[in-house]
Structures are given as structure tokens and as C-alpha cells.
């Protein structure tokens, strides 16, 4: 007897297809992001803080290079433990840069724990961290209001720059260096049509001081060819003639400092921090108590350990080198940073102008209140705005 050929069983295949589609949809739902509907923060009570007097706040409009950064007394503001324990994740592009030192010291000295915060650090480049910060998977970003941040906020991300980090010490010569030809004077150097080597892209906050230095030497950002190089290659390119000028970071500039063949044309403006803490919706609107607590711990760490020339204390420099995982000699080779938690007025306007000149941001410039929120550090030091 013959039987008819069997038809392939279709039902399991259909089920499999349905399962794959369902998994794909579930995955997409996991990636889903609705609009960032940040509710306006409720008015908060600002109480005076012991140890943080008039010197704990400076006028944001004060752009003088010699401005003394805001300071409270050592150990102030005192911890105000949160009612419930919180775990916060902070992303940073690096854990070895000196500007992250207050963060590392605050962790090591238990300053966050005193506030009821369990802080975890995660190394993540800013462009990768931004969507996570906006979605609430990260609580804060220790970086800078780079062009990527401006573009993200333009796209609807609820992210604000809430605290500064540092400005360079008067003796620092981290910045734009140029090779001088045949007895040329530094003040007469023209940068127009030259090539610049940098390890930092056009979307970095450094574009702002760079644009200032260029303008002072007869060139606009678009009149210079940028060549992005690795950290080790920037100096080699400058000394070897591969580029005409270079943006040299700490402590690389020490290699050319004092040589008549190179001239320092300018660096980050003194008294004007260009980076620091950025918060997403978690700490801006959902849990501002934790946001203030995090900044209080940071401000206290600065007042306690970084109030002045912290490198004068050799034992502390050694401890810092161990914490950051860098050579102690590297730390000692350059002057101490001027740690500063405040944000100057108009910094984001100047940054956006530089980004626009470099062609790295789209759309109209954002007003400062879309990018900056000073209320949290003001509350931490008890200042009524």
C-alpha cells in the first residue's frame, strides 16, 4: 500500500517564527525610549550650611582669571545622610586623569558613604554614556558639556551640567604650543593654513580655548587643518615636523617647556571650569535629594583635600598617585589643578559658539538653562539663588 507523501509540519516553524518576532519586539521594547518627560522639579528648601559662608559662592558672571574659587571650611558641608540608602552609577571617560581625583578620593575616604550613597564608577566614553544617562541607567556622568552633550540635549535628552571640576593653575602651560621657525616671535606667529595635532576631537570643550588662541593669532577654526593623533603621537608629530602646532596636555607640555623652538600660545581660561558633573533625569527630577547629596560629598571632598595647592603635601600626592594609578613623578611634574565646583555664566554659550564654528553642532544655540543647573550645588552649600 502506498501512502501520500507527508507534508512538512508547518506549525512548529510558524511557532518558531512567531517566537523570534516576539523576542525581537521584546528586545526593541527593552531599547525603547519614550520622550524625556522630565517633570519640573518641586521648589526645594535651602537651609544655611555651617562652615559654608559668603566664600562658598562666587558670582557666576565673575570671569576674572584671578578669582578665588568658592570654598567652605574644611570638612564642610557636613554630611546629611539620606533616609534610605541609594546606589548611584557614575560614568567617566577615564579613571586616571587628575580631574577625577576628587571623585576617587571621595570614594576612598568614604565621603559618599557618609551621605548614604553607594557610588559605583564605570569607565565609558561620553557618546556611549549619554543615552544611558538620559534613560536613567546611569545617574551621573563625570565629563564635560561636549558637542555630543549639546547634540543630545538638542535631540531631547534631559541632561544638565550641574557642577564644575577645575581650572588650570596660573603656572600651567597645558594648551596650544607652536613650533617657531628661525627666530620668529611667539606673538607674531600666524596659524592660518597650518596643521594642528590634537588627541582631542573637534567636539571637545577644548575647542573653545583653542578658538580663542587661534583668533589671537589671526586664524579661525576652519582655517586650520586638524589632525587627530594618539597621546604618544601628538608630541612626536610636533617635534618631528608632522604638524605645526599641537594641543599638549599635562604633563606632556613639560617636554617642550623652556625650549626656544616652541612657544605656548594659550590654554584653558583660568577661573573657568569646562567640565564636571552632568546629571540625567534620575538625579535632576526623580531623586534630587540624592543629587544634592552626591554634590555635597564632592564639595566637602574639595574643601577638605583639594582646597589649595594639594601637591604641596607629598604624602597626599603619593596617595593620589596610588589612587589614580599614575606615576607620582607625573603628578608632581605639573602644578595642582584649581578645583572648582562652580559653573561660570556664559560658558555654555561660548562653548556652543566654538562648536558652531567647528561645524560640530546642529540647530539653534541652546539657552544656558537647557544645559546648566546650578541649584544643586547652591543647595549643597546653603546658598539661595
Amino acid at each position: 500500500m502506498r501512502t501520500r507523501p507527508r507534508r512538512p509540519a508547518r506549525r512548529p516553524r510558524t511557532r518558531r517564527t512567531t517566537a523570534v518576532l516576539a523576542a525581537a519586539l521584546a528586545l526593541s521594547a527593552g531599547c525603547a525610549a519614550g520622550p524625556d518627560t522630565a517633570a519640573p522639579a518641586a521648589p526645594r528648601t535651602i537651609k544655611p550650611v555651617r562652615g559654608c559662608g559668603a566664600s562658598s559662592w562666587t558670582d557666576p558672571a565673575d570671569l576674572s582669571p584671578g578669582r578665588a574659587p568658592a570654598r567652605c571650611a574644611r570638612g564642610a558641608p557636613a554630611p546629611v545622610p539620606l533616609t534610605g540608602h541609594r546606589t548611584l552609577t557614575i560614568a567617566t571617560g577615564t579613571l586616571t586623569a587628575e580631574y577625577t581625583a576628587p571623585l576617587r578620593v571621595a570614594l576612598a575616604k568614604g565621603e559618599f558613604r557618609k551621605e548614604g550613597l553607594d557610588v559605583r564608577l564605570k569607565v565609558l566614553p561620553t557618546p556611549d554614556a549619554l543615552p544611558l544617562l538620559a534613560r536613567g541607567e546611569l545617574d551621573a556622568l563625570w565629563a564635560a558639556p561636549e558637542a555630543a552633550v549639546v547634540n543630545g540635549v538638542h535631540g531631547g535628552f534631559d541632561i544638565r551640567w550641574v557642577a564644575g571640576n577645575f581650572s588650570p593653575a596660573p603656572g600651567s602651560r597645558s594648551g596650544l604650543w607652536v613650533r617657531i621657525e628661525n627666530g620668529e616671535r611667539a606673538s607674531a606667529v600666524s596659524l592660518k593654513g597650518t596643521t594642528l595635532g590634537t588627541m582631542i576631537g573637534k567636539g571637545s570643550v577644548i575647542m573653545y580655548p583653542m578658538a580663542r588662541a587661534f583668533a589671537a593669532h589671526g586664524a579661525a577654526l576652519d582655517a586650520v587643518t586638524f589632525r587627530q593623533l594618539g597621546p604618544a603621537d601628538v608630541l612626536t608629530a610636533l617635534t618631528g615636523g608632522g604638524v605645526d602646532s599641537a594641543w599638549l596636555l599635562d604633563p606632556v607640555w613639560r617636554q617642550v617647556d623652556g625650549s626656544a623652538r616652541y612657544a605656548f600660545l594659550g590654554g584653558q581660561p583660568q577661573g573657568e571650569p569646562l567640565g564636571g558633573a552632568l546629571y540625567g533625569p534620575n538625579l535632576l527630577t526623580k531623586d534630587p535629594d540624592a543629587g544634592v547629596a552626591l554634590l555635597r560629598a564632592y564639595v566637602r571632598t574639595v574643601n577638605t583635600y583639594f582646597a589649595g595647592d594639594y601637591k604641596a603635601d607629598k604624602a597626599f600626592t603619593g596617595e593620589l598617585a596610588r589612587l589614580l594609578g599614575v606615576d607620582r613623578a607625573v603628578l608632581e611634574a605639573v602644578p595642582a589643578l584649581r578645583m572648582d565646583w562652580e559653573i561660570r555664566k556664559g560658558t555654555t554659550d561660548r562653548l556652543q559658539r566654538a562648536y558652531r564654528d567647528a561645524g560640530v553642532v546642529k540647530g539653534d544655540p541652546l539657552p544656558e538653562n537647557r544645559l546648566v543647573d546650578r541649584r544643586l550645588y547652591a543647595e549643597a552649600v546653603g546658598h539661595r539663588m
Binding site: M1, R2, T3, R4, P5, A24, L25, S28, A29, C31, A32, A33, G34, P35, P125, T126, P127, L130, P131, R135, A147, A148, V149, N151, G152, G155, G156, F157, G201, K202, G203, T225, F226, R227, Q228, L229, G230, D233, A237, G242, V243, V360, V361, K362
Partner: protein
């Protein structure tokens, strides 16, 4: 072909095979199969793109992170019309072509030499084997030191990558030429050049071109990674620069351009292979039965 069988177990079981449509109407069956394959090749990517568009439009995915295909297309179109895209495409293309030509020529010559002369093979094979496993991107700093900051390091990196693919496939192809072919050449009194021209070249070229086609794809891969590190233009630079600036629509435009460039370049090499080796079994391409 269809198979009918009896239900009776045991030694009396009879299997009858009847000719199916493929045997009865082979041309029609082949046409239908080709139509199905083409339809699948077009429909699957199209469905995926439509699903992506829908997911972005309905906010199932974050369109700021994964821009909708329509947005990517609009950005690409705008950049192409404004002339912003072409300098990057041209820069990448020039580096790929220059590096590919140098790497292919070097790999082919050395592959022939090592495939033909056992002493040369004994001298160079261990060294080249060792260099082959070095990630080529790790050589970029070396090339930067050797060639400076111009186009040299990028071209050298592509050439080094392509070289190994072509060298290995050429050497293996020459070694695999059957002794009978060489014997036939000798019987006809072929000299070294004639042996190369009429025996080794035709016998080895199909395999060499397979290696060259694989190398074409890898050349595009490597240049994109290299342009991220040490270039001021090119599609790799465009992708990673826009990623750093959180301009995801531009980044995806760059990715699409790289994909198109890779496919076109690989297909051109395949086409060149068909024209150069009409005697070789026809490579009918991916997904074609």
C-alpha cells in the same frame, strides 16, 4: 523528486521515486527557484528596514540613538547633494584601491615565487606565517613612524592586510597544480615562462581570485578602523567622528556607505575574476543555487 513508500514493514517495503517538477520541467523549476531567491534577497532586507522604520516611528526604539532609515536616507541624500559626503567616499576609495593594488601585486608575486621554489618557501614561510597572525591594526603605529602622517600609513595598512590573503591563496593554488599539468607542459617542451603562462597561471588564477575577493572585503574593514585612528577624512573618520559628536544619523549614513562600498568593490573583483578566468567553474555568487 518525490518519494512514495509502502507502510508495510520488513523486507517487502518498496520505495518508488517519481520525477518531480525539477526533473520534469527543469527550466521552469530553475526560473521559479531563481525568482524565489531574488524575492527573498530583496524582501528580507526590505522587511527589516520597514520594521526598523516602524519601530522608530512608534518609539519602540529610541530614534535619537537608532535613527529611522528614512532619517538616514534623508541625511545621506542631503550630504551627497551638498557635496559633504563625496570627499570622505573618495578618500576611503583611494586608500582602498591603492593599498589593494599594492597588496595584491606583492602577494601574488611572492605567492608564485614561494609556490614554485621550495627553497624560497622554506626561507620565508615561517616568517610570513608569524606576521600573518599579527593584527594588522597593531601595525598602524609602526606605519605612522615609517611613512609619517600622510596617506602612506593607511595605504600600507591595507596593502599589508591584502598581501597575506593573496599570498596564501596564490601559494596554495600553485602548490595544488596537479603534477599531470606540469608534466604535460614539459612534454610539450615548455620553458619557464611558457610553463608559467600556459600551466601555472591558468591553473592557479581561479583560487587566487577567490583570495583577492575575500581580501577586497577585508580591505574595506581595515581602512574604516584605521581612519578612525589616524585620518582627517574618509568614511571611517566620518563614522567615528559623528559617533563622538552624538550625530547618529550621520554615523549611520557612514555605515551604509561603507556597506555599499564593500559590496560594490567585492562584486567588481568577482566580475573581474569571471572575465579573467572564463575557464574556471562559474562562481554564481552568494545565495544562488
Amino acid at each position: 523528486m518525490t518519494a512514495d513508500r509502502t507502510d508495510r514493514p520488513g523486507p517487502d517495503r518498496v520505495v518508488v521515486r517519481r520525477p518531480g517538477p525539477r526533473e520534469l520541467r527543469p527550466d521552469r523549476a530553475h526560473r521559479r527557484r531563481r525568482a524565489l531567491e531574488v524575492a527573498l534577497a530583496v524582501a528580507v532586507p526590505l522587511l527589516l528596514v520597514l520594521w526598523w522604520q516602524l519601530a522608530a516611528a512608534r518609539s519602540w526604539i529610541d530614534a535619537r540613538v537608532y535613527p529611522a532609515p528614512g532619517t538616514i536616507l534623508a541625511d545621506g541624500w542631503h550630504r551627497a547633494l551638498a557635496g559633504d559626503l563625496w570627499p570622505d567616499v573618495r578618500a576611503t576609495l583611494q586608500r582602498v584601491l591603492a593599498g589593494y593594488a599594492a597588496g595584491t601585486a606583492g602577494g601574488y608575486l611572492l605567492g608564485l615565487l614561494m609556490g614554485s621554489l621550495s627553497l624560497v618557501r622554506a626561507a620565508l614561510e615561517p616568517l610570513l606565517d608569524a606576521l600573518y597572525v599579527v593584527p594588522k591594526l597593531a601595525l598602524l603605529p609602526v606605519f605612522l613612524n615609517m611613512f609619517g602622517l600622510g596617506e602612506g600609513p593607511q595605504i600600507a595598512l591595507v596593502a599589508a592586510t591584502v598581501f597575506f590573503f593573496v599570498w596564501i591563496s596564490t601559494m596554495a593554488a600553485v602548490l595544488a597544480v596537479p603534477d599531470g599539468h606540469r608534466d604535460a607542459g614539459r612534454v610539450f617542451g615548455a620553458n619557464r615562462w611558457q610553463m608559467f603562462r600556459h600551466v601555472l597561471l591558468p591553473a592557479s588564477l581561479p583560487a587566487v581570485l577567490v583570495g583577492a575577493r575575500i581580501a577586497a572585503g577585508v580591505a574595506v574593514l581595515v581602512i574604516v578602523a584605521s581612519e578612525q585612528i589616524a585620518a582627517a577624512d574618509g568614511l571611517g573618520h566620518l563614522i567615528f567622528d559623528s559617533r563622538a559628536l552624538f550625530q547618529n544619523d550621520v554615523m549611520f549614513t557612514g555605515i551604509v556607505c561603507v556597506a555599499v562600498l564593500g559590496v560594490v568593490f567585492s562584486e567588481l573583483v568577482r566580475l573581474a575574476g569571471r572575465l579573467l578566468t572564463p575557464w574556471a567553474p562559474r562562481d554564481r555568487g552568494r545565495g544562488q543555487s
